[in-house]
């Protein structure tokens, strides 16, 4: 058990150090950054904002990690968010009640995931192409549901998912933390994680060894769809409206980035959900940091790109090799 904890710490150490450095830098530029107050029955402050605003990317990163571990990729998650947000908003305004609304939106997410899984696992279409279909079509579907406008609602129950608080934390943060812990436990306390890695490393070999790779692949995409649905509900609930044009736009790229920053290889195989979640927090820290630092908006993307570049260069195999060489020679 102790050995396991030490191994985990060693695995996520680079991500933790990166996160700490970024937070320290923001704290240096903007001294009031770490102030946390208690107001309106919840904690209130920039670090809490990072946990709260990072929720969509963190949730997407959970599903994306599993998909990438199977050597796949899911480009459709942003569009699935838009679909599920639109379904949630239209169901609640149509008077279906909160439980049924949530069930319908989450169900739609799973259905989208199953569709992707079917294309990838049964028809054998390359994941990047298979999920591209839903990425393009999905936003159109969402726009059909909302009829192109922002579909607003005033249901306090649904809004609670996006802007309520539980145990002094914002609800979105509670959701991604609990989903993250649940999925991490599910894949690491059972053989599921190992089977996913096996399929990612060599699908044919694992099939021959008796792993039901087809079912596993479909399940993984379905989980990704479910995570995207939850993220979509949160985003819609947060602004009390489904914005089909903008909800989840380009978030699939942030989710992939979170997984990559988390050190999981796009070539499949070994993965770490916790590292991906820290990756998501790194991205959100950069976003929030840019906002509080008060730079002109023209610099936002350049600053973000430079930081991401720095992180990836530090993690690159070439630099790792150079470090080992340096240690040997000295």
């Amino acid at each position: 058990m102790n050995g396991g904890a030490a191994r985990l710490l060693r695995r996520i150490a680079p991500q933790l150090v990166t996160l700490a450095v970024i937070l320290a830098t923001i704290g240096f530029v903007f001294p009031g950054f770490f102030n946390i107050a208690f107001a309106n029955e919840r904690l209130y402050g920039s670090p809490i904002d990072i946990l709260n605003r990072g929720a969509p990317v963190a949730l997407l990163a959970i599903g994306m990690t599993l998909v990438i571990a199977t050597r796949g990729i899911d480009l459709s998650v942003g569009a699935v968010m838009a679909i599920c947000g639109a379904i949630a908003a239209s169901a609640i305004t149509a008077g279906y009640g909160l439980p049924l609304t949530l069930l319908m939106a989450l169900g739609a997410g799973i259905a989208c995931g199953l569709w992707n899984g079917l294309l990838v696992a049964v028809l054998g279409i390359q994941p990047i192409v298979a999920t591209l279909i839903l990425m393009v079509a999905g936003r159109g579907i969402a726009q059909l549901i909302t009829e192109g406008a922002i579909l607003t609602f005033n249901d306090a129950g649904l809004a609670y998912v996006g802007s309520g608080s539980f145990a002094a934390l914002p609800m979105p943060a509670v959701l991604w933390l609990s989903v993250g812990v649940a999925v991490a436990l599910l894949v690491r306390r059972t053989a599921l994680g190992m089977l996913i890695e096996a399929v990612g490393v060599n699908r044919r070999a694992s099939s021959l060894a008796g792993v039901s790779s087809r079912l596993l692949l479909i399940t993984v995409y379905a989980i990704s769809g479910l995570c995207a649905a939850l993220a979509g509900i949160i985003v819609a609930a947060d602004i009390r409206g489904a914005d089909a044009n903008n909800a989840g736009l380009f978030l699939e790229l942030d989710a992939i980035l979170a997984v990559v920053v988390g050190g999981t290889s796009l070539l499949g195989g070994r993965f770490s959900i916790i590292a991906s979640l820290i990756g998501a927090m790194i991205i959100q820290s950069v976003n929030t940091g840019i906002l509080v630092a008060g730079f002109p908006p023209e610099f936002n993307l350049v600053i973000k790109a430079c930081i991401v570049l720095a992180i990836l260069v530090l993690q690159s195999p070439a630099l790792y090799g150079a470090a080992i060489l340096l240690r040997r020679t000295s």
Binding site: F30, G32, A39, N40, Y44, G45, S46, D49, R53, G148, A149, I150, T152, S163, V235, D238, I239, R240, G241, D243, N245, N246, A247, T288, L291, V292, G294, P296, P297, E298, N300
Partner: protein, 318 residues
């Protein structure tokens, strides 16, 4: 001789009369699509304005594609319509098709957006002045706060877009002489609700909610998102922090009715009304309209019965 001239003049006059009566009948309208609520409202209002004047409006939805708009204009020319309204999706690449319409002697009026073609190729353009919109918003704030010190936070539109640049410029011009008003933070909210809320949250933390006196948002959607952020921070939007924005979409009127927003500057969806008026004058006696007709940028405040305006706007298909 005199009789002949009179006869000729009479004939000519009756011909113009006849033709103007005939001319006002069919107008083709090539619309960009229905990407936003405002666009949908523009379509609805254009139909209403045409109906009011007894004009038969031929409507073509281009679904965001220039090639569809060019096709639509060619088919309008082939059908021999009396005038064409065009809301161009992009600014370039119109020369050839506008030339075709000109050769067929069909006047083209641009709605809402401009093109980079020679001014002779179209009759006139109807649109709003983005800088002026920003000025109206800024002037409202200057009048509202009087001599009070006022720190303003600004939610910009998508970085680099012309509404973001011009609405910022206009607002800054309007507050330039008021030394008590200054913009303390300005960041992009990408014209969306979600980003508007997120960025406002960071403003509130970075500046401290009680030091911010007003919010200026480049569109209403960002203001609606920011209003939620202000509420969640335990402050009262509309009184603790004044909220002024641009566009006049229905949802901001709901916020104004609830006292949570203070003012909005209308980007009117009625571009067709002035266009039809200019067209009628041109056809009646050949009066060339100016090359740019600026629509009114009307200011709405809480005093303007926001709930009534909300219902009106809703019925326009926002």
């Amino acid at each position: 001789m005199i009789a002949k001239t009179l006869l000729g003049a009479g004939l000519l006059a009756s011909m113009t009369l006849l033709s103007s009566a005939a001319l006002a009948q069919t107008v083709g309208f090539s619309q960009i699509g229905s990407e936003s609520g405002w666009r949908a409202a523009e379509t609805t209002v254009t139909r209403q304005e045409a109906e009011k004047r007894g004009i038969d409006l031929k409507f073509a939805d281009a679904q965001q594609k220039q090639e569809n708009q060019i096709k639509a204009i060619r088919s309008f020319v082939a059908q021999g319509v009396d005038a064409i309204l065009l809301a161009p999706v992009v600014a370039t690449g119109w020369d050839a098709v506008l030339q075709e319409a000109k050769e067929a002697e069909i006047p083209v009026i641009l709605l809402d957006r401009m093109v980079d073609s020679d001014k002779d190729l179209y009759l006139t353009a109807v649109g709003s002045d983005l800088v002026h919109e920003g000025e109206v918003a800024g002037k409202w704030l200057v009048d509202e706060v009087g001599d009070r010190e006022c720190n303003v936070v600004e939610l910009q539109g998508t970085t680099g877009s012309s509404p973001a640049i011009d609405r910022k410029k206009g607002f800054e011009q309007a507050i330039a002489d008021a030394s008590n008003i200054k913009i303390v933070r300005s960041q992009t909210g990408d014209f969306t609700r979600a980003k508007g809320k997120e960025v406002m949250e960071s403003f509130l933390k970075a500046e401290g909610g009680d030091t911010i006196c007003a919010l200026y948002a480049h569109n209403d959607d960002m203001a609606v998102g920011a209003i939620q952020a202000i509420k969640e921070a335990g402050l009262k939007p509309g009184s603790d922090i004044l909220v002024v924005s641009i566009d006049a979409v229905p949802d901001i009127f709901q916020a104004m009715a609830a006292g949570e927003a203070n003012a909005t500057v209308e980007l009117t969806p009625n571009m067709a009304g002035p266009a039809f008026d200019a067209l009628a004058k041109y056809q009646a006696d050949g009066t060339e309209p100016p090359k740019f007709i600026q629509t009114e940028s009307k200011l709405y405040t809480q005093a303007d019965d926001p709930m009534k305006v909300y219902e009106e706007k809703k019925s326009q298909g926002y």
